[in-house]
């Protein structure tokens, strides 16, 4: 196993944990940038310079677009907008990522010899596992958007693990696709941020499910309890 690739894989997974667990948008975007910069390197052999350069430049552009959308310049008052962050905390997210990493590493090839690095598959599984929860359970534009971008990136990592290093055209198309997705997220996030005081939150009618009340462990005294 290539130790440098292993280190990059760990950095990518750590970046994913930051991206899905952090509440300040800038921190989450920083985590995403780490993932996007590290992902193309997780290939054995390394991609051709042109493809690699396009991925690096694309990653920086994506992060910058999201950064522009998330900054709160121009807001007159109120706290800085936050994204949803993790509901179960970063340690739990990190453990989930570690589990998925092991699964991806062990399942490398998915039934047949693979052409790429097992670390790429492992990192892809970890990134995708964390991204799924953010994408499916998120109730704000930025969190779901970051989750969607990470989900695609996780699939691309698995693809590199299975099929080997992509050629230059695929790298260029990958970069363009990720930029379009990031630009769409940035536009949507900016639209939400500019509309009132709800930060990046979904509109009420857009929430798929209502938050469950704490009925399992009532914290307020009921009239019956007092009388009893």
């Amino acid at each position: 196993m290539n130790p440098i690739l292993a280190a990059v894989a760990l950095v990518v997974v750590a970046g994913t944990v930051v991206a899905v667990a952090a509440r300040p948008p800038r921190v989450a975007i920083l985590g995403l940038a780490i993932v996007l910069i590290g992902s193309p390197v997780l290939a054995d052999p390394l991609p051709a310079p042109l493809g690699l350069a396009s991925r690096f430049v694309g990653a920086i552009l994506m992060a910058y677009l999201l950064w522009i959308a998330a900054r709160d310049r121009g807001r007159v008052r109120g706290p800085s907008p936050l994204t949803g962050g993790s509901r179960i905390g970063w340690p739990a997210e990190a453990l989930m990522a570690a589990s998925a990493f092991v699964v991806g590493f062990a399942a490398h090839g998915l039934g047949a010899p693979a052409l790429g690095s097992s670390l790429s598959s492992a990192a892809g599984f970890a990134v995708a596992a964390l991204a799924v929860s953010a994408t499916v359970t998120g109730v704000d534009v930025l969190r779901v958007g970051l989750g969607s971008l990470l989900l695609i990136d996780g699939a691309l990592l698995v693809r590199v693990g299975l099929g080997g290093t992509p050629d230059q055209l695929e790298q260029l198309v990958t970069t363009a696709t990720l930029i379009v997705v990031a630009a769409a997220i940035a536009t949507l996030a900016r639209a939400a941020l500019a509309d009132g005081a709800g930060a990046f939150d979904f509109s009420l009618e857009g929430r798929g499910s209502r938050r469950r009340e704490p009925d399992a462990h009532p914290i307020e005294q009921q009239v019956g309890d007092v009388l009893r």
Binding site: V141, A155, G164, L169, L188, A191, A192, D195, G206
Partner: protein
């Protein structure tokens, strides 16, 4: 390479229109003008050209040309109708982005790369939700669209990558190929908003005007469906594995979409929702083609997709024109609409014929072939009747439209033209446009309906193009490989050189690079391109 002007025009055009969005009076005409140029650029695409980039490349086909031509024409007319009905001014930017990515997706021979471009098309589509007065609501709906696109893209990327390599030592063949096929098929279903993955599409219908619906739920997903068909025919179908259980799931999605979408459209009281569910219902027929897993379904499926894209665009244009003409989109409030505006009645009639089809029309024949390929016995008859179920909601619309009530007045259909003031031409033109918005919308819908009828009948060489090969790098090609200036670099993709004007009836040998089936996986002999 005749595709490059189209890609550059639409890609850079989208960026230009977005850059001008702060000045809508300029952005909209510029967007419409670029869409018009895109129609010309699509018409000038020449088939059987390719360009090698590194070890792969992009290639053109006749079907690519016709798809892009029809899609560009439909989006141009929808943009004009949208502007006339004061629905949207910035939809051209999204339309251009979708056209660029669809063009790229359909020209890439490798499914692993093509699905990326198709995913980008979906991401562009998420932006149609952002109208000026729908900040948070639009962003929420757009995020749902983006989420569906990302999930679909992830599944398609994973499926294409899973079996896009040497699988001679594969341990569990039916399971792996079955799961990969299922993932790709469901990815297509999600992108179309097929039932039960229709929730995001229903929310989208709530938030955006009719004229933008076909962009997101018909044109962009159609590109992914075409890629899926090529991929399945090249990678799954030749292996002749028993995938009955997996195909059953895909078939269930298709049949549920065909029937339930018609029921949903019938009970809706808003024509926007009727258009939305009509698209879902027709997408069910595309899912039937995906479920077929038979090269025989290749041509009918692609004929149906062409007709589907244009017919549903025409239906959306009719809905927008009706809403603008009568000031309401509620079916119950449209009583007598066909009597008041007979031209709109004729337009809807054309849409009905184009989408339902008459025996002998290419689209109707293609749909029938797909059903008989996938099903047999009584179920085939039931599904065949199900594909006619849109007559229910069309019939309801006509019944309401022919209902008489007191005080019905005919809507004027002639253009209103005042004297042109040559000293102030700009104001004169603006007034002429403002006075004729409804007439323009109706005319746009009528042109689209006529176009849909022609496409449904098999005009423009659609059936011949649909029977052609998927894109293959080879033949007349140029090379962008660094350090090369001569003949094109050899691609991993098996090269098939179709002769001009005569294309094979089966997609056959366009396998993804790296897929080298073991001897037992030998694909069936393919028809000669000649």
């Amino acid at each position: 390479m005749s595709l490059l002007p189209f890609l550059l025009l639409t890609g850079l055009g989208a960026i230009a229109v977005v850059a001008l969005r702060a000045r809508p009076r300029i952005a909209t005409p510029v967007g419409v003008a670029i869409l018009f140029l895109a129609v010309l650029a699509a018409a000038l695409i020449r088939p059987s050209q390719s360009i090698a980039i590194g070890t792969s490349g992009i290639a053109t086909t006749e079907y690519l040309r016709i798809f892009l031509l029809l899609a560009a024409l439909a989006t141009l007319l929808l943009a004009i109708v949208a502007e006339a009905t004061e629905d949207r001014g910035d939809a051209p930017a999204v339309a251009l982005g979708i056209l660029a990515t669809c063009g790229l997706a359909l020209s890439l021979p490798d499914a692993r790369v093509a699905v990326l471009a198709a995913t980008a098309a979906g991401a562009f589509g998420a932006l149609v939700t952002l109208v000026p007065d729908r900040g948070r609501t639009g962003a929420t709906v757009g995020t749902r669209v983006l989420r569906a696109t990302a999930v679909s893209g992830t599944m398609a990327i994973a499926a294409a990558a899973w079996i896009g390599r040497d699988l001679s030592e594969l341990a569990a063949q039916p399971i792996v190929f079955g799961l990969a096929y299922l993932a790709f098929a469901l990815a297509v279903a999600i992108r179309f908003g097929a039932i039960p993955a229709h929730r995001w599409a229903a929310r989208l219908t709530d938030a955006v005007p009719e004229t933008t619906l076909p962009l997101v739920t018909a044109i962009a997903p159609a590109a992914l469906a075409i890629i899926a068909l090529a991929w399945a025919d090249a990678s799954i179908a030749p292996l002749a594995l028993d995938l009955t259980s997996v195909r059953f799931v895909v078939l269930a999605v298709a049949i549920a979409s065909i029937f339930l979408a018609s029921v949903a459209a019938f009970i809706q009281d808003d024509i926007e929702h009727i258009v939305g569910y009509a698209i879902v219902g027709d997408a069910g027929v595309v899912m039937l083609a995906v479920a077929a897993l038979d090269p025989e379904a290749w041509a009918p499926a692609r004929i149906w997709i062409l007709a589907f894209v244009v017919a549903r665009s025409a239906f959306a244009a009719w809905a927008a024109a009706s809403r603008a003409t009568f000031g309401t989109g509620r079916v119950t409030e449209l009583r007598g609409w066909a009597l008041r505006a007979p031209i709109l009645g004729v337009v809807l009639g054309l849409v009905v014929v184009a989408s339902i089809g008459l025996p002998g029309l290419a689209a109707a024949e293609a749909r029938g072939q797909l059903i008989t390929l996938v099903l047999d016995g009584p179920l085939a008859i039931v599904v065949m009747l199900g594909t006619l179920s849109p007559l229910l909601y069309y019939g309801r619309l006509f019944a309401v439209g022919l209902g008489r009530s007191a005080g019905l007045e005919r809507v004027g259909w002639r253009p209103v033209l005042d004297r042109v003031d040559l000293t102030n031409l700009r104001v004169s033109l603006w007034n002429a446009w403002a006075d004729n918005r409804n007439v323009t919308a109706t005319a746009g819908a009528a042109v689209l309906a006529i176009l849909a009828l022609f496409v449904s009948a098999g005009a423009f060489g659609g059936p011949q193009a649909a029977a052609g090969l998927p894109p293959v790098v080879g033949g007349s090609s140029e090379s962008f490989t660094p350090g090369e200036s001569g003949p094109p670099a050899e691609s991993d993709t098996p090269t098939v050189e179709p002769s001009a004007g005569a294309e094979s009836p089966a997609p056959s040998s366009a396998e993804p690079p790296g897929l080298s089936p073991e001897p037992s996986f030998e694909p069936p002999p393919t028809a000669s391109p000649s």
